[in-house]
Each structure stands twice: as structure tokens, then as C-alpha cells.
């Protein structure tokens, strides 16, 4: 019997050792498991056409404000608040320059209107990825003319990271020539921002929104 006892003890020890070895092995495999393959989005800039000596270039495809309108669903820079409200019936209001709030972050007379992302319609058309409910679009006017559209993607419980949504939207504006629109994608606080600005806005192009109260 002692032999059996010993044998039983050895058996339990072997089982324990085997279990331990198994756990170590699983942990080892997990540690050594290759990272999952992920896709990196490539943003396509407008093609340039060079002469045969590689000295001068033009955009391979000439672009006009219509190219911007096709992506925004009808909005182009230079529209007045009244014209914007006619093109965005979901706003449910007639915009007037004199009634718009002032955007204090600018040194010039810039005014704005904001629209919840859910009701932005064609303005957020390319986006299929998730974004939080507080996300919104801001239309900014300089001296009465639309000069910037700014999408602010925010997280919420259902969508803790709206990065993919911002990237999707940004990808549809990068192919526009800088003669038509300047686009930028950046992060401030919890917000992923995509700004598309009128090329003639000069110093305002580089001015980026900063989220307060982070």
C-alpha cells in the first residue's frame, strides 16, 4: 500500500507538474503570439503632373470649388449664412450673420453655428465608423462668408475612440488640391478634429481649435 500511496502522491505531483507546465506553456504561447495584423490607412494626396525635366508641375487633375461641393454635399467656401441654411434644411433655422455668436478664439470677426453630428446629413456622409453622441460640426464665417468647416468627434460610452471616424472623414478631404481647401486632422483633449479651410483665409488656416476644460 505504501507503494500505492507513494504512487498516488507521485501521480498527483505529476498531474500538478503537468498542469503547471501546461499553464506556463499557455502563458508562453500567449506571450509569443504574434500581434494581430492591422490595416494602415493610406491618405492619397492629389497627383502632380511634372514636365519631362522634373522642374515644374501642375495638379494632374484641375480642381474647382465643385470638387469641394461634391464631398461636403453642396457647401462651398464663400457662402453666406443665408445660403448655408438653404443648403442645410435639417438646420431648421435661417442663419443671419448678425445673429451668429462670435468665435472668440480668432482675432478677426469670425462667427459660427454648430450642428450635432447626427443631423449633419451629407456633411458627415463618408463616415461609417462610430463616434460619440456629443460630436458636432462647426461652420465658421469670416466677415459673412463661410471659410471653415470643423468636425469635432467626441467619445462616449458606446464609442470610446472616435479616431476611425475622424480618419474616414479626413481621407475624403486629403485628395483635394490646396487651391480648393486645406485640411488638417488633429487631437485636442478628448476630441478628434478635422478642419477644412478656405485657402484664402491665410493666417487663419494654421489656427487650430483647443478643447477647454479637459
Amino acid at each position: 500500500m505504501p507503494g500505492r500511496h507513494n504512487g498516488g502522491s507521485r501521480g498527483r505531483g505529476t498531474l500538478r507538474a503537468a498542469l503547471l507546465a501546461g499553464m506556463v506553456s499557455v502563458a508562453g504561447v500567449a506571450a509569443a503570439a504574434p500581434a494581430l495584423d492591422t490595416t494602415k490607412r493610406i491618405l492619397v494626396l492629389p497627383s502632380l503632373q511634372w514636365n519631362d525635366s522634373g522642374v515644374a508641375w501642375n495638379y494632374a487633375t484641375q480642381q474647382a470649388p465643385d470638387n469641394l461641393a461634391r464631398v461636403t454635399g453642396g457647401l462651398t467656401f464663400g457662402l453666406t449664412p443665408e445660403e448655408v441654411s438653404r443648403r442645410l434644411p435639417d438646420l431648421g433655422a435661417n442663419l443671419h450673420w448678425s445673429e451668429l455668436p462670435v468665435a472668440n478664439e480668432f482675432s478677426e470677426d469670425v462667427r459660427y453655428v454648430w450642428i450635432p453630428m447626427q443631423t449633419a446629413g451629407a456633411l458627415r456622409a463618408p463616415v461609417t465608423a462610430c463616434f460619440g453622441e456629443p460630436s458636432y460640426v462647426v461652420l465658421l464665417f469670416l466677415h459673412g462668408d463661410l471659410f471653415r468647416i470643423s468636425w469635432r468627434f467626441l467619445p462616449d460610452r458606446n464609442c470610446p475612440n472616435p479616431h476611425a471616424a475622424a480618419e474616414e472623414l479626413y481621407a475624403s478631404y486629403v485628395p483635394l488640391a490646396t487651391t480648393v481647401a486645406f485640411s488638417a486632422h488633429y487631437r485636442t483633449g478628448f476630441a478628434e478634429v478635422v478642419d477644412v479651410t478656405e485657402p484664402g483665409a491665410r493666417s487663419l488656416i494654421e489656427q487650430r481649435w483647443q478643447m477647454r476644460g479637459q
Binding site: 500581434a35 495584423d37 494602415k40 490607412r41 493610406i42 494626396l45 497627383s47 502632380l48 519631362d52 522634373g54
Partner: protein
């Protein structure tokens, strides 16, 4: 008779030249069908050199396609017009400029083919311009393969005849250079659609 003979001798070259111009050439059409004729007469496409440039702060990759007007006597090979053997610095600079127009700071933009020490010193000088581009007379696809180095991706570029081959080339280059797996990949055609 003599006058007739003289006229006949004088008229012979005239007759011969008329025959040369007017007689139909004897074409053996054989299996030379319409589709082949179209293929053979199709305009060869201009050279495109595509760069991949990276804003390493936002982790965004940009493709800058440069199309070249062919030299007057350029000869196409298999439907591809040759690309310049030497890419002028202005072209390279324009590729970077495409990224810089979207970046917060100019220094954020580098070529997407990075050297081993890039994650420690993320500088343009630690990237390769030559290896960050593919030319349409050599490859159809350009790809990127990266590993995440914490705050940003460290990447390399590959060229290939199809998407898989280009990704494999980029991944092999990335894994050899950085001695680790490069699971983040992307690809696109060298030429604009």
C-alpha cells in the same frame, strides 16, 4: 512605230509609279483580331512615381503620386513608359510638402521608410527617400509595413507586382531592419486609378 516605241518607253516609269501607289497591299490578316489591334495601338501610360510619406506625430501615411510627361522620343516597354532614372530633388521635396501642408509642424513629416534608430531619433535624416518610393515601370503596387513603437509607427516600404507581393516586400524589409514583427500594413496602386 519609232514614235510609238518612244512614247511607250517614256510612259513606263509613269505606269510603274501608278501601280506602286494604287495596287492593294497583300495583308495576311490571319488571327489578327480587333482586340489585339486595339491593345497594340493603346496609348502607353505615363510614368508615375509614388512616395509614401509619414506624419509620425499623427501616425498618418500619405501617398504622393508624381506623374511625368514622357520625353519626346521615349519608348514604351510592355505598355509602360520609362520613369526617370534620376528623380530630381524638387520632386522629392514636393512629396514631403504634400504631407507638410496637412501637418502641424514641417518637421513632423518624414519618408515612410525608416532606419533602425528612428524610434529613438525621429528625424527626416533617419529615413530613406530612395526606399520610400515605387515607380510604375517597375511595380504596380506600393505598400507599407510597420510596428508600433509606443507613440508612433516605425515603418518601411516595399514595391511589388500585386498587393500581396508589395506587402510582403515591405514586411520583410521592416522585420529585417527592426528585428521584430511588423503587423501593421497597407497598400495601394502606384498609378492613380
Amino acid at each position: 512605230m519609232r514614235t510609238w516605241l518612244r512614247l511607250a518607253v517614256l510612259g513606263l516609269p509613269l505606269l510603274a509609279s501608278t501601280a506602286g501607289r494604287g495596287s492593294p497591299l497583300d495583308f495576311d490578316l490571319g488571327n489578327y483580331d480587333a482586340s489585339q489591334a486595339l491593345e497594340d495601338t493603346a496609348q502607353p501610360r505615363d510614368c508615375t512615381v509614388t512616395y509614401l510619406v509619414e506624419d509620425f506625430v499623427t501616425n498618418e501615411t500619405f501617398a504622393a503620386r508624381m506623374q511625368f510627361t514622357p520625353a519626346p522620343h521615349a519608348i514604351a516597354l510592355k505598355g509602360h513608359l520609362p520613369c526617370p532614372t534620376f528623380v530630381p530633388p524638387r520632386v522629392t521635396e514636393a512629396a514631403l510638402e504634400g504631407c507638410r501642408e496637412h501637418a502641424d509642424k514641417k518637421a513632423d513629416c518624414v519618408f515612410a521608410d525608416m532606419s533602425r534608430g528612428f524610434h529613438e531619433s525621429p528625424l527626416l535624416s533617419d529615413t530613406s527617400e530612395n526606399a520610400a518610393r515605387c515607380a510604375s515601370d517597375q511595380a504596380s503596387q506600393i505598400a507599407i509595413a510597420c510596428r508600433n513603437a509606443g507613440n508612433f509607427d516605425v515603418c518601411n516600404v516595399g514595391c511589388g507586382e500585386d498587393r500581396d507581393a508589395a506587402i510582403l516586400a515591405a514586411r520583410n524589409r521592416c522585420q529585417a531592419k527592426h528585428r521584430t514583427a511588423c503587423p501593421i500594413t497597407g497598400a495601394l496602386p502606384v498609378r492613380a486609378p
